[in-house]
């Protein structure tokens, strides 16, 4: 029976994980993780501006030859449906409609070589799951979101601002269940899950006393709670972990709901001039809320153009027309956010990432050398404006923008071909590289892992994500 003791020791060493299953506190960091405390950090906060639905690179940050609409044109000749415009960077052009962002590109890095995963027949939410968690769905454990890893490892910057805030997404849309599957802290424990603000204009509702309850009543309710516990017989039962943690969490919530910092959630406090600059719609106001929260010490925020099947960036038809609106929605607020953060000095310690789960193309569904089942009929000859645009899902060349927090200023990374298929031809970068670079900037060790059901589970699959030093100063 000699192995018994070793088995026990093994359990002690490796199965803190089981704690997650027991639901008793968060799991412990795996012993394989190296110590990160001495790592130099370049960022404290992260804002992800997510272009949900698949943003075509050729129509936004990586335009190709302009092929204007004419009745009877061949589908295969269509590359970019918009003319190009200059940016702050020499020789680098954007698609028309992104003039404001073009004017701040000296402050960040343009990535033109992101390659999304091959997940077969395309479902947006599976790619989004992969984008946000770095793991391909499904997985045999519940995988934490990027924001949850950061919340767990770095904690709240300001104790009354939840460390992972998600702005702009409702779960009542089609594929809502699939969206929920990755908006979770998974095995890290619900403490690190997203604080959801589906509508930025009602952000304050989530952090103030319940509707119809003024501060005074809220305070006396809290006092009553404490007095009632003190008066009750439960004290005789002695200390109990569950009891104490319940009381502690209620106290924390009370402090947050009653704190002056909660005003950061209230967009009506923003000066009108500034409010108007951001107010292009829900997404624009989300950017404004993100700015206010980062100024108060938010750790990780996602602001998304809300995902809803066949809406927003998910153009299965009328791509050209609809992209005009999408650009109007994002151009001013993204640029304004960068300018405001830069002016206040916050940009130096805040990474802002603009990204989408994949790109789109007129003809290719998937990757040129690994095409998958088409979802949209594309006529060979385009007679109607509604067929003019990028209506298929393209994974082999997507654009991203990264600003601040140690990311190079005025830099371009990677390249796609100028002719169809406009795929990545230089410096390909994948999701594990993006995640690892963000973790690195925050000082989270690249081999950080937790023992889950006795197996090491890393921030990036097998801990293989490499920091992309080409993006960093």
């Amino acid at each position: 029976m000699n192995y018994l003791k070793s088995r026990r020791d093994f359990i002690k060493k490796t199965s803190a994980a089981a704690m997650a299953t027991m639901g008793m506190g968060a799991p412990l960091a795996g012993l394989l993780s190296s110590c990160e405390s001495k790592m130099k950090t370049t960022a404290d906060s992260v804002i992800l501006l997510f272009m949900a639905g698949g943003m075509a690179h050729t129509e936004t940050f990586d335009p190709k030859r302009h092929t204007p609409f004419r009745k009877g044109m061949e589908a295969k000749e269509i590359l970019s449906t918009f003319p190009s415009i200059p940016t702050k960077l020499d020789g680098i052009q954007f698609s028309e409609g992104l003039e404001n962002i073009a004017s701040v590109m000296d402050k960040g890095t343009l990535i033109r070589s992101y390659q999304a995963a091959d997940l077969g027949h395309i479902l947006h939410t599976r790619h989004q799951y992969h984008f946000h968690t770095c793991y391909e769905p499904p997985q045999s454990v519940v995988v934490p979101h990027l924001g949850s890893w950061i919340a767990k490892e770095k904690g709240a910057l300001n104790p009354v601002i939840p460390p992972f805030i998600n702005i702009g997404q409702r779960f009542t849309v089609g594929e809502g269940e699939e969206l929920k599957a990755f908006h979770t802290a998974g095995f890290l424990g619900s403490e690190y899950g997203p604080f959801m603000i589906p509508d930025p204009t009602s952000g304050l509702d989530s952090v103030r006393p319940p509707v119809g309850m003024d501060t005074k009543r809220f305070e006396s309710r809290n006092q009553l709670y404490k007095d009632l516990i003190a008066a009750g017989p439960m004290g005789e039962f002695g200390s109990d972990y569950q009891k104490e943690s319940l009381k502690r969490s209620m106290e924390q919530a009370y402090i947050l709901l009653n704190s002056p910092e909660a005003k950061a959630f209230d967009l009506s406090q923003e000066p009108k001039e500034s409010y108007d600059k951001y107010n292009t719609g829900k997404f624009g106001l989300g950017c404004l809320l993100a700015k206010r929260l980062v100024n108060q010490g938010a750790r990780y925020i996602t602001v998304t153009t809300e995902y809803e099947p066949f809406m927003g960036w998910d153009t299965h038809d009328n791509g050209h027309t609809r992209l005009k609106d999408m650009k109007k929605l994002i151009d001013a607020p993204i640029a304004q956010l960068i300018k405001d953060l830069d002016e206040s000095g916050k940009l130096d310690r805040t990474i802002v990432l603009v990204a989408s789960e994949f790109s789109r193309d007129m003809l290719t569904e998937g990757r040129p050398d690994l095409k998958v089942k088409d979802q949209v009929q594309v006529p060979d000859i385009v007679e109607d404006l509604k067929n003019f645009g990028m209506h298929r899902h393209f994974t082999d060349g997507c654009s991203m923008l990264m600003f601040g927090g140690g990311i190079k200023r005025g830099h371009v990374f990677g390249k796609t071909a100028d002719e169809r298929p406009c795929k990545t031809i230089e410096n390909p970068i994948k999701i594990d590289g993006i995640h690892q670079t963000i973790y690195h900037a925050l000082g989270i060790a690249s081999d950080l892992n937790y023992e889950i059901e006795q197996r090491p589970f890393y921030t990036t699959p097998d801990g293989h994500g490499k920091v992309e030093t080409g993006l960093l100063t």
Binding site: D9, G23, P138, L224
Partner: protein, 745 residues
């Protein structure tokens, strides 16, 4: 001579000073800590200060002879101080016992951390039995420290340590040892290096202990013996598959229930005292929550308390078990979690997932014997196929998550209490399960033979078709899927598969007592705190028709179930390796129990749109006797999620009951609870316009007792003479969120 001494003082002082500086830097870099280090540090700093004083006085003594006395005493103090600093420093690098360990009278009483084997027994000529023992220990050291990077799962430096052949072949830089010559063995050299050395192994995580290094050294020294039969022994704990029925200890007064007799045996062995039986009120609340998931009403309590039957607790347990719809709606939650069945969720939109709620509910309602329950899950009808069909995503998925492998993993986890997730991708490094065994098991669920993929790369090898244990019989690999599943179902529910019953009785025990006899409940190879109790319960369950209600009754009528509950002192208490069972542990209500209590006492939390399952539409005789919808019947929502209801994307056999800020926010200002309390408050003041009466009723209904004088005073202060809705709403809130309300104690 004096000159030389003075020079030595200067030299000594300077080197003490520089040692201190380097010492501080070293401590900073190595990250060592602890009281020995602190002592070493402070004595060292004192030595530096003393040295400076020494230099001062040695100079002064040259011109003022009177200073010479101070100089001399200082010199003595400094010498002693440096001596101590040196000692503690050595303790840091060589271990605390570096001075005493070589003394002849020093005995090594403390068992080494991870090896209980007596190293000394390997010093002489080894018998073949001892050789096997030695190798098993060596393999255990490799398994627990090295497999993560050097086994089939991950092969760093071209080196695998999981099989004899690979160990002897070595890695990219050749053999790792020379048999008989530890001094010329890279293996021994590298595991013996210090933490910061670039060659040290393991390069990540904890270094090997002294005993582990010694063990490997002895093995190499002895010529690295590896008798053939050594491979028959597992380095992991493997539970017996066969059932076992231990003899019951003799009956003692008051301990007739077999559970109590076995618990008493355990208590005696571990010197644990029985606690007193709880009062009727505590018992009734416990039994209600555990059996039907609801809190009893004051009239239930009164009826129970005044029941003169000495056997009343047992009768009332029976009565609760017979409230079939209440019972079924409570246990539905448990099975929905375990079988990852839900009303909404991923997969349903593309037709890639099938709900089995009707089947689960019917099974619970008619108390389907567990063997039949398992058979119907494994060899399913249309109504029960959802569990093994899994979730089929649009697009391509990893080989290790194909639906056949999902079935293998989930059947393994839920029905058999074992973890095949690791072995779905490569040979497991946490158990003996091999990739081929997982595939052979998964192949039972496949329409056509699966090709084995190792770490997502197809190997070209086709899977066999086998149950995980040969003892349970064979599966015909040429049979159709339906036939294979029928064979699997028949073979897994044979009484000789003791694992089936052990796994389920352990789960039910956990539901009732707060912690399994084995934990985690999905790792049935782990050591139970009482093998006898587990084995007896399992055998008894098998012999008595796999009757779940009977099992619940057996537990609920035991004395141990009726004894005082045990507080949980810390978050890791329940999984501590030296966990000792003392009784039922205190728990928090689940999301469903809490919601149902609030719905009952204030106003229904869920409206008709949220209801996804209506038992009375499925079963005509099902009673719809509650004025609110039970939380187990509604789609998951933010409120339930915040309180720990899982999304059921994967199997979930333990709830996350951790209190968290996000949960507290939901409870503090979430709309769901707030509006139920708002409505409830109005009903309360309409029914009880008098403050005192209202308070008494509220306490009676919510916590089944009278308010004490302080609580009454507090209520009167809050309500004034006539209660108004806002104050009552806040009082309900405070009472419902109090630990007394939320705990099962």
């Amino acid at each position: 001579m004096r000159k030389a001494i003075n020079l030595m003082v200067y030299f000594g002082a300077t080197s003490v000073f520089s040692s201190v500086i380097f010492g501080l830097l070293l401590a900073e870099n190595e990250g060592t800590a602890g009281s020995t280090l602190d002592i070493h540090k402070y004595i060292g700093i004192a030595a530096a200060a003393l040295s400076i004083a020494l230099i001062y006085f040695v100079r002064k003594a040259q011109s003022h002879p009177s200073a010479i006395k101070i100089y001399r005493s200082l010199l003595v103090i400094t010498a002693v101080d440096v001596g101590f600093a040196g000692h503690y420093g050595a303790s840091l690098t060589h271990g605390e016992s570096f001075l005493t360990e070589t003394l002849p009278f020093q005995t090594d009483e403390e068992a080494p951390e991870s090896i209980t084997i007596n190293l000394a027994s390997f010093q002489n000529e080894l018998s073949s039995e001892q050789e096997v023992q030695l190798v098993t220990n060596v393999r255990s050291v490799f398994a627990h420290n090295c497999y993560k990077c050097h086994s089939g799962a991950k092969i760093e430096g071209d080196l695998r340590l999981d099989e004899k052949e690979f160990i002897f072949a070595g890695g990219e830089s050749g053999p790792i040892f020379e048999a008989g010559n530890p001094d010329n063995s890279d293996l021994i050299r590298r595991i013996s290096l210090s933490k910061n050395h670039k060659d040290v192994m393991p390069s990540k995580g904890k270094l090997l202990t002294k005993e582990e290094i010694q063990l490997l050294t002895i093995w190499v020294e002895k010529g690295a013996p590896w008798p053939e039969k050594a491979d028959n022994f597992s380095v992991y704990r493997v539970a017996e598959l066969a059932p076992r029925k231990p003899n019951l200890p003799p009956v003692k007064s008051g301990l007739e229930n077999p559970i109590d007799r076995l618990v008493n045996q355990y208590f005696e062995k571990n010197s644990i005292e029985w606690t007193e039986l709880v009062d009727d009120r505590t018992f009734l609340r416990r039994a209600y929550l555990d059996i039907v998931g609801l809190i009893p009403s004051p009239s239930d309590l009164e009826e129970f308390e005044t029941d003169p039957d000495p056997n009343k607790r047992s009768l009332w347990v029976e009565r609760l078990l017979n409230q079939t719809d209440d019972y079924s709606q409570h246990w539905l939650t448990f099975w929905n979690d375990a079988l990852r069945n839900d009303y909404t969720g991923t997969g349903y939109i593309t037709g890639g997932r099938f709900a089995i709620t009707d089947w689960i509910y019917t099974s619970l309602r008619y108390n389907k014997p567990y063997d039949l329950f398992v058979k119907e899950l494994l060899s399913p009808t249309d109504k029960s196929k959802g569990f093994i069909e899994g979730i089929r995503w649009r697009g391509t998925v990893n080989a290790s998550q194909r639906t056949e492998m999902q079935a293998a993993q989930n059947v393994g986890q839920v029905i058999l209490g074992l973890n095949l997730k690791c072995a779905s991708c490569h040979d497991s490094f946490i158990s003996d399960w091999k990739l081929e065994e997982s595939y052979a098991f998964a192949n039972i669920f496949a329409d056509s033979t699966l090709e084995i993929s190792r770490c997502e790369k197809p190997t070209g090898k086709m899977a066999q078709t086998k149950i995980l244990w040969e003892d349970l019989g064979e599966i015909d690999s040429l049979a159709t899927k339906a036939e294979k599943l029928q064979q699997l179902a028949d073979q897994l529910v044979q009484p000789k598969n003791g694992r089936l019953s052990r796994t389920i009785v352990n789960r039910i025990w956990k539901q009732m007592m707060g912690r399994g006899i084995v934990e985690p409940v999905d790792e049935m190879d782990n050591e139970p705190w009482s093998q006898d109790l587990l084995d007896w319960l399992a055998s008894d369950f098998t012999e008595n028709g796999y009757d779940i209600k009977r099992l619940i009754k057996q537990i609920a009528t035991s004395k141990i179930y009726q004894s005082q509950s045990i507080p949980v002192p810390s978050s890791d208490f329940l999984l501590a390796e030296d966990y000792q069972f003392e009784g039922m542990v205190r728990r928090r209500m689940t999301a469903e129990q809490f919601s149902d209590a609030v719905s009952l006492l204030a106003a229904p939390l869920f409206d008709s749109i949220e209801v996804k399952f209506k038992p009375y539409e499925l079963i005509p005789e099902a009673t719809q006797n509650r004025e609110f919808t039970r939380a187990s019947l509604v789609a998951n929502n933010e409120f339930l999620k915040a309180l720990g209801r899982p999304t059921r994307e994967i199997v979930s056999t333990s709830r996350d009951s951790q209190a968290s800020l996000l949960q507290a926010l939901e409870l503090s200002n979430g709309d769901k609870l707030n509006s139920a309390l708002q409505k409830g408050a109005v009903t309360w003041i309409e029914t009880y316009p008098d403050s005192e009466k209202l308070t008494r009723e509220l306490f009676a209904k919510a916590v089944l007792r009278e308010p004490n004088s302080k609580e009454m005073e507090l209520a009167m202060k809050t309500f004034g003479e006539k209660p108004a809705a806002p104050e009552v709403q806040d009082f309900l809130w405070a009472l419902f969120l109090s630990p007394e309300f939320q705990m099962i104690y």
